[in-house]
Amino acid sequence: MSELKVSHRYPFPPEKVFDAWLDPKVARRFLFATPTGEMIRADVDPRVGGRFIFVDRRPDTGDVEHVGEYVEIDRPRRLVFTFAVPQYDPGNTTVTLTFAPDGDGCVVVLSHAGVLEEWVKQTVQGWTMILASLETALS
């Protein structure tokens, strides 16, 4: 078990990939989207302190609203925003994105902390230890 972190390489320059996160036309196609959902609302106010709202209509759970605020906009290197899904949990989580040039493309690293912050960040080691000892105990 490690920190919640995923990365992806894009065959596009960092600027293009960065802008996609703040452009509602592109963002609605992936950000807060789910494989079976339909994005029915994507409003963004792309400045530090600006807010966004994405509403994904899902066949199983209905409309799921994601709201958040931009914390850091450092084009095309870093983008940080908070978000919450108020109907599930009023607590904010934080998503940090870094965009690193990679040849003719770029690598995006996404880390998601917040709900997780309390424990994942400070306790990756403890968690790893628990799961390891659990494995020992069960085997």
């Binding site: 078990m1 995923v6 992806h8 592109v26 992936f30 949990d89 306790t123 000892s133 659990l134």
Partner: protein, 101 residues
Amino acid sequence: MLDATLIALADPTRRAILSRLAEGEARVTDVARPFPISLNSVSKHIRMLERAKLVRRRVEGREHFLALDPAPLDEAADWIAAQKTLWAWRLGELEKALTDE
């Protein structure tokens, strides 16, 4: 339930208690012994772990035994894995969106 699990795991003493119990069932007094805090403080941690259903208590005469219940850990691990899968899927969708442009 997931929240209770995550909160229960957010403390080093409680994680240490779980690690101890991962080795097998133990008496409350034995679990508490290695900690440089009062039995009362350890008991509070144990009660939180019981509320999170990570620890089960069995009473035999005057002895209280504790055992680990790993089921909520599985749920937490599943949740993390699902979040991770979802973000990976979204990053792939972004590539598709940019390719279509």
